[in-house]
Symmetry: C2
Subunit: 216 residues, 2 copies
């Protein structure tokens, strides 16, 4: 199974590639292929030092979509529409949105688009056959990259295509000690996306770092 | 310190009284004082069987406000406005809103009032000197009542009055193994209230019961 990361050289994308590439074939996409190649070289080195094999290919964002079965949109909300408008080929593919629409005022606030959530916005912009799920919304970039730490978090996954959702949950459950939870249809993704500004507020007001969640 | 529970004979209020009355003086309020007295008798009996002393007084909702320093609004969202319209005397008191505005469609959805959250609606309805916090939003009624179980959950608390928020967090931290977290100003309470429909969806779609959260 090939996983393509659109925005794979960003903070989150880079960490995702580190955790995913020992388990799956990962295509790291970027607007500039050179940056993607550099990220792959760096990640390969980091993993080799830990004695881990990995499968990493640095490509442009479009090639990451064309070459993969599952695509992760590791893009900040403010660049989501612009990024998707320049790309195509999402037909029949599983597309994972970890995107959280939020703003920092004096505190962090969930500010969804008119569709209700970033995942629903993705659904509107992509072809109808794209199998969209939200997932990985609440894992901080630093935690993705902290390879010596277990990721002991719960990961809510939303989606309207049950088979796609099961596949995404299966991927989640293979990464470190993440545990996937079915959080319902894509229409319920707003409540998942609202978790991230909440967790950023918890971190800020309690002097913590990279706060995550567990359901129990 | 006296805690008054408006709606103290409802599902949540009854359980709160069970957990709070061995620690604090609790005034269980109800629209009908007889119901409040019956709840107190039942709770006293349940606690006595476990060898626990408690301080419980059954009163009307107005008397629970008048007699207490801290008031918990244990009222479902749909009855919140109606209940508050019939009550007064909130001046200078700490008022805790555990209320979650939500609807069950095919899944549970956060449906906030125009103010942005139930806590902000409470703020608009009560006198300016009332010191409003949101808190206890995500603890399920069954868990409040399950006296043989520890409550190992995180409890986000929002509020604009820092001293009131610290006091509420202190109360939270005395109950079982609950741990309070400052979740920012009252304007951030929408993200806390949205947790409950999320947790209900997690329970529903993963065949779980009374799901709670931990920040970590």
């Amino acid at each position: 199974m090939k996983i393509g990361i659109v925005g794979g050289t960003g903070d989150i994308g880079e960490g995702m590639a580190l955790r995913l590439s020992p388990l799956f074939d990962v295509m790291v996409g970027s607007r500039e292929q050179e940056k993607a190649l550099a990220t792959c070289t760096m990640n390969r080195e980091l993993l080799r030092k830990r004695g881990k094999e990995c499968s990493l290919t640095g490509v442009g964002n479009q090639a990451a979509i064309d070459g993969a079965d599952i695509i992760i949109l590791a893009v900040p909300f403010k660049h989501l529409v612009g990024t998707l408008e320049g790309l195509h080929g999402f037909e029949d593919k599983i597309v994972i949105s970890p995107v959280n629409p939020m703003e920092k005022r004096d505190h962090f606030t969930f500010v969804p688009p008119p569709e209700g959530s970033a995942a629903l916005l993705v659904k509107r912009l992509l072809p109808q056959s794209a199998r969209i799920c939200s997932g990985f919304n609440t894992i901080a970039a630093n935690k993705w990259k902290a390879l010596d730490e277990d990721l002991e978090y719960s990961v809510p996954v939303c989606g309207d295509d049950e088979a796609a959702k099961r596949e995404v949950m299966g991927i989640v459950n293979r990464i470190s000690r993440l545990r996937a939870f079915d959080a319902g249809p894509l229409a319920a993704s707003c409540m998942v996306e609202a978790l991230t500004p909440l967790l950023l507020n918890i971190a800020r007001y309690n002097k913590m770092k990279d706060v995550g969640i567990q359901f129990r």
